[in-house]
Symmetry: D2
Subunit: 325 residues, 4 copies
């Protein structure tokens, strides 16, 4: 039985586990203040090209998003997200549970740009409505598409001109950065966003996301926020060590590139057979549209997800294979 | 200068003020436990045809909605609302500020029915998404349309079959109940919903809404909720007395009918002149579509609101006159 | 039957009601943007000696407190209050419901000073604890005591040196400002605090408190906050008009002084009879300690509150008369 | 340099890491629905003596507490905790951030009993105050004391008679259950509480706590709550596998007993030297009171925490050694 289910159905990369073993008997400071967390943060600051970046390790993606949003926004400020955004669809109302509204925008491909965001700004004109304050994007997106460097530059420039924070959910950032021909780097993202996170869980770690805060105004007291929301592990080393393993020798990018490449083989094979895809995914999330009978047959030999991810009123007549939700 | 702005640009009906004066020197229990609050509640229970209804007086509509939603729902439970719903558009994220997500549904006319709600239920299938739990409707709606008795019966029946609470925002309930030919009564609404409120502010009161909770499971400890959210006036008499004035002689329905009738004159006149309306409003909210130049001319002699209420991406080229937002 | 229950068992001062009547037929802007709200705000700015003060009218005291705290503080920031503080004891967790912790301090007399607050600052040393950020005081306090000008100056100076906001709950501010020999003025309070509110409900109004924000950093977008928490009345005139009546001819201070004076007669009479008081109240809240049998007798001719207000583990053996809770 | 800092300055027990390695290449269901989570839950249900117990694995203790409290309580319901309780002192207001007040009780030894809790029930008499609903205890407590079986039986019986939920924070449950002469078992705790958690982080795991919900009324939709608060790891296996290692051969109890025994050697040695302790700790948290100069000397050869944990206004003149905060 082959599984095409999810990155998180796998364990960790062996080097990640090895790092945990090698250091297991050391006594280290708790709560993310150990030397390995510092070293991993150093590597990420290097990748971001900024000594002043604030780097925090947090167990999961939903948690990272909810801590960041609730730390960055005042109570009446809202998040703008694609209708397909993870915060909107697949976080059980985690953002709203911290008190903030998400304003959704319909998009053709899971991506936001100035033209798509502007009407939301026009509409929210006074104190009887929330105040749009943060643009939330994912890269790669929930439907597998990615932002080019130019697209991100334009969106960043738009956000800055409108007083909007730009936050990038990088649960699949590795995939986005190793797309064939993509010139976007972590350094670029650091310069173009106010904060972003580098996803560990989907790229070789057991758990862990690295939040990088670039905007100085958003940095103060952030550890209070992590602790208050339950995201501060007592043995914080667990997170730092994994990111150390992923970033000290470029393993993070290797793994992401490998996932993209093997997905590409699958993508090309499916296309060759004449099937279409629900989205133009560049990541290892593939959304081929198969007839229902074929799905039934495939299910006997393969595990995969079926049904429309992140879409309301999804038509299930044909069935999509989805790589991840 | 004539004003066609809003119900709340007016003061109170004189009988309402008179009631406050007549009783002004009496010493009464505070916090809504005085005899007039009890009497007013009695009258409303009578109108609802239920001795067991729980009636609470609350200063404003947004406050009533946020207290009800946060009292009735568990943290992961969400509200389903029309995209045009007041809770979605014009409450500055008040519902989300209590931790609950609003799931919006596009509607042709501001009204929800089983067919429109069902896809939301289908989509929200597991613990990675919020759990739809309450259907929020307004009557009349934010675009001036209203529910017939049959429509409300069908929606109520659907909600009950699906385990959904049905909550009716009656900021303009008077208007809805006095629509020409409408057979819907407060008694019907009481039987068909889990809770609803009777709007005082837009029908003759200075302030005040009467929340009526019909579902026994939602009644317990409700006064704690009102107090916690800041909705319990120390001199609660102010609210009870006004509702007494409105309900002891049918004044509430008189005022609403009068507003509908005068709006109807205006509606017919505008239609006769060949203008169309953005919605099929039956209330005193009218949404005629006028050319921009005409709007400019009218503005010299009349006060009115301009622009699309409760609609995103509203095209302002032609200009709508709106009676209320 | 005489009642010594509560200020809020009474109606409004006749001049307050008269103001509502006189203006009742006027069409005015909604949501607190009418000319009377502006005029009343002007008068209060005058009293505060500051054109830049931001004045907002809000229906009730608990609501004012919860809106202010949630608007002023970031999620991890906490309020320091006397153990007897209204926010701690009598608001059904309204502050916590907005996400903020209250740190309590035991006091001999309901009042805070530098010495009492400092240990809380010492104790809260890192991100595993909340960050004390606002000092909440009431004047007069919940046990009827009051701050002298010197005491408030010292506390203000301490707060500023420690980066703490100073917020004054003035539900009974009139009483505090008209205490015999007291030199404290609204102007002083405006200069010494970051924000405070002037209580209308307990001094002649039907409802309504006037929040005055002095610290520029706390002013932005405040109307969003009022709306989001349900505190923005559609017919905002109701609040503005009442404060106009109270402040245009000094009625507010007249009423407060009268209440103090009549309470003083009662206080002296009780003292003359040899009874002691649970607190050194200067307001019309009196806390005489009577034997239980006397309470039973008094109850036949007088209404009053019995039992220890704002005190945990209160010993009810003897019974206190309390003027207000 | 010897460290007497904290359990969480250590790594994991080797058997725990080994379990992660052995299973690393398997493809397993995500989000805690894998076979190892099920097996570990099975073992814990066995220990609890109940097939119907609901077992959930959550990354950390603060997170477990905040998820449980916010899932179990309605908005106006409050937690009763010892003043020294972890939720009160060392969680950065995590409970309040979910909207709930904590009512604190001063205790001589960090433990609650009926007599200590009753006054809080007496005091909270109406809707102007929060409603006490859950009693939060820790075992061992934050000052190292523990509950005997009889004490827990009495507290449980009291809570049930008063309609209070009893929740036990078991961050150091292993220590409590292996105290010399203690007859309390997980089975007892399961029968006597509504919910409790078994702490993994401080007893051999890298991270992870096992929440056990016994009260049927509290079980429904709990996975929604975990997800909404960011506590659901995508690779949930990480938690299940560790608890499997800890519970399949009694490792959990071995490790806890070992910690207690070695602490006992230290405790007896210190006592022999004539020093007193700030609390009567039975766990590996020791609170000896040393003169400041001795602390300075010891610091050259040993790492340890200094200063009063969980106590306000702590006098630092003498210095306490504390084993954990």
């Amino acid at each position: 039985m082959y599984s095409f289910m999810n990155d998180y159905n796998e364990g960790a990369h062996p080097k990640v586990l090895k790092k945990l073993e090698e250091t297991n008997l050391l006594q280290l400071d708790g709560y993310g203040e150990d030397v390995y967390c510092r070293d991993a943060a150093q590597l990420i600051k290097g990748a971001a090209g900024s000594k002043n970046a604030a780097v925090h390790f947090i167990p999961g993606g939903t948690q990272t998003n909810l801590i960041a949003v609730s730390a960055f926004l005042r109570p009446h400020e809202a998040v703008i997200s694609a209708q397909t955004g993870h915060v909107e669809v697949h976080e059980t109302g985690a953002i709203e549970a911290t008190g903030h509204k998400i304003i959704t925008v319909d998009t053709p491909d899971g991506k936001l740009d100035a033209k798509l965001v502007q009407p939301t700004l026009d509409f929210h004109s006074n104190e009887h409505m929330v105040k749009p304050r943060m643009v939330y994007i994912s890269n790669t997106t929930e439907v597998g598409t990615h932002y080019t460097k130019t697209e991100l530059e334009e969106l960043s420039s738009f956000c800055r001109s409108k007083g909007l924070l730009l936050y990038l959910d990088g649960a699949r950032l590795g995939s986005a950065l190793t797309v064939d021909g993509c010139t976007l780097s972590i350094k670029d993202i650091a310069q173009l966003t106010d904060a972003f996170y580098i996803g560990g869980t989907k790229t070789g770690a057991l758990l862990g996301e690295a939040l990088v805060i670039m905007n100085d105004a958003l940095k103060s007291d952030f550890r209070f926020m992590i602790k208050q929301r339950g995201g501060m592990l007592a043995k914080g080393r667990v997170l730092g060590l994994q990111f150390l393993a992923l970033f000290e020798d470029g393993l993070y990018f290797e793994l992401a590139a490998h996932a993209n490449e093997t997905a590409d083989i699958l993508r090309k094979g499916i296309a060759k057979l004449g099937f279409k895809f629900a989205s133009d995914s560049v990541s290892n999330q593939l959304f081929p549209i198969f007839p229902a009978e074929l799905c039934d047959k495939l299910r006997k030999r393969f595990d995969f997800m079926q049904g429309p991810p992140g879409k309301r009123n999804g038509d299930r007549k044909d069935g999509d294979i989805v790589g991840d939700a």
